[in-house]
């Protein structure tokens, strides 16, 4: 069986690294507006991140990180690099590129190059069908698709440097063009948990990410990363301090069949540290995790509100296609 190799250029690194940003703030119970967006108060000592200045200019997201200092005074920084250098946020790694590709894509590799002599191999992880976004949401790959996560290796200087990222993967057969979906995210590594908060485009549903068609070609093909009209305005990513049901994957404050179906759709794939879909924390999402979550349903018979009018029997059945 022949293998089709596909190579593509990543987004301009200025979009991926230098000018991106999200709103990251420690909330202390107050409600206040920053950058034109109202931030709803949340639990004390929690961490919240949201892009409040979504929008884009020439493909770059104009976001700013905001923090409160130890006295509760809002402080802002303008890049992930500043975030690390000024606040020492442990493990915040700069803006990985997430690429959704067909499930049968393999032999993934990638390089970075600043055009001035700084180049090397990207750190690549592949095979994911789910990526934790924050404490209560997960980014799911569409059916028949997987995620590739590409990021700069540790130690590569990035502040103010623009890189071109190049990714290559292979597919069995020769089926011509293939569709991929790219997005940029901020990676928040809290040790036991790793979150990727999408900001370009700023969505947590892959169906909302524009597809890019990659033709069969001998030369690398460009991949533009889209910014949707609404930018990140109003989006909030909750990174800590929120108690959620371990198996509530659709963030509706219960555990029901909908959650199990979502979890099952992402099975037989590796899990990032702290991915709640990996209920037994063995680094792999499989049928055992789904069964474990089935035992944690919070609704009678695990039914959704659409499938059971509680106490009066089933109204409408739902089945996997």
């Amino acid at each position: 069986m022949s293998m089709m190799q596909r190579t593509m250029l990543g987004v301009a690194a200025t979009a991926a690294i230098g000018l991106s940003g999200c709103f990251l703030q420690t909330i202390s119970g107050a409600t206040f507006a920053v950058g034109g967006s109202l931030i709803t108060s949340v639990q004390t000592d929690s961490v919240l991140t949201t892009c409040v200045q979504g929008g884009s200019t020439g493909g770059n997201v104009e976001c700013t990180y905001f923090f409160t200092d130890e006295n509760g005074v809002p402080v802002d920084v303008t890049s992930s690099a500043d975030l690390i250098s000024e606040f020492g946020i442990l493990g915040v790694v700069i803006d990985p590129l997430i690429l959704q590709v067909p499930l049968d894509a393999g032999n993934v590799s990638g390089t970075y190059d600043d055009g001035a002599g700084l180049s090397g191999a990207l750190d690549i992880q592949s095979g994911f069908r789910s990526i934790p976004v924050d404490t209560h949401r997960t980014l799911f790959a569409e059916p028949g698709q997987q995620f590739i996560i590409a990021e700069l290796p540790d130690g590569v200087p990035f502040d103010g440097i623009g890189f071109v990222l190049s990714l290559t993967f292979e597919q069995p057969g020769d089926d011509g063009a293939v569709s991929v979906k790219p997005l940029l995210a901020l990676k928040y590594d809290a040790g036991k948990q790793v979150f990727h908060t999408p900001f370009l485009p700023c969505v947590t549903d892959m169906t909302a990410v524009p597809a890019v068609t990659i033709p069969t070609a001998a030369t690398p093909q460009p991949i533009p990363v889209a910014s949707l009209p609404q930018g990140c305005n109003g989006e909030q990513y909750l990174l800590a301090g929120f108690g959620v049901f371990a198996c509530d994957f659709d963030a509706d404050n219960d555990v029901d069949i909908d959650d199990l179906v979502l979890q099952a759709s992402a099975r037989n794939a590796p899990a990032l540290p702290g991915d709640r879909l990996d209920n037994d924390s063995n680094g792999f999402i499989d049928i055992n995790d789904v069964r474990r979550c089935a035992l944690q349903c919070t609704r009678p018979a695990c039914a959704t509100s659409l499938t059971r009018d509680e106490g009066r029997g089933f109204v409408r059945g739902e089945r996997q296609p």
């Binding site: 069949i257 199990l260 209920n279 995790d289 789904v290 069964r291 035992l295 039914a303 089945r319 996997q320």
Partner: protein
């Protein structure tokens, strides 16, 4: 290109030595052997045996790839069994991916029922799913195996892995297309008529 039975020889696996342990969990495609007539449908059962009789270990979920030769067989239907609870009554969820690659059909069910309930309702052996195939242009006497694909996983009532001790596949043999009954009667009548006319002459 046709993939013959040799391709699937490795799918017939007997694990853990020469003898299966007591309570050996066996997953089988049944019947073990059957005729495959081109143009007809064939229903095979994916079955499990070796579970506890109304006792642990029970089966809480399964996720199994059925492997077959896509040049000879096409999946036309699939019905999950009720051993983990009724899917229609939402006691279990059908989570099968279906056809994930040519010749690889994934079936999967997760029970919503508690471990105690599963222990109470499950016999030692039952049908996990039935799969219907349309038989393609298989030659007379040609064999093909319906076995197991890239993965097979079982989960017990608590969500812990349940080891599969034995996997057994089904061997199909190409058989001639039988004459339709009316055509057979017509031929018999034609022969009788020929004999009658010869006697008259």
């Amino acid at each position: 290109m046709r993939h013959h039975s040799g391709l699937f020889a490795g799918l017939l696996v007997a694990a853990l030595g020469f003898s299966a342990p007591a309570h050996a969990i066996t997953v089988s495609v049944l019947p073990f052997a059957a005729d495959a007539v081109p143009g007809t449908t064939l229903t095979l059962e994916l079955s499990i045996s070796g579970l506890g009789a109304q006792a642990a270990p029970s089966l809480g979920a399964f996720d199994i790839d059925i492997g077959f030769d896509p040049a000879l067989l096409t999946v036309t239907g699939y019905v999950p069994g009720d051993g983990l609870g009724s899917v229609d009554a939402l006691e279990a969820i059908d989570v099968g991916f279906g056809l994930t690659a040519p010749g690889n059909f994934n079936v999967g069910v997760v029970s919503i029922l508690g471990e105690g309930t599963l222990n109470a309702i499950q016999p030692t052996a039952f049908v996990l799913a039935t799969v219907e195939f349309l038989v393609g242009s298989i030659g007379i006497g040609e064999t093909t195996v319906v076995g197991f694909g890239t993965s097979a996983a079982l989960s017990d009532g608590f969500g812990d892995p349940l080891a599969i001790d034995v996997l057994t596949a089904s061997t199909l043999t190409g058989a001639p297309i039988p004459l339709p009954a009316p055509l057979g009667l017509f031929l018999v009548a034609l022969a009788a008529l020929a004999v009658f006319r010869r006697r008259e002459q």
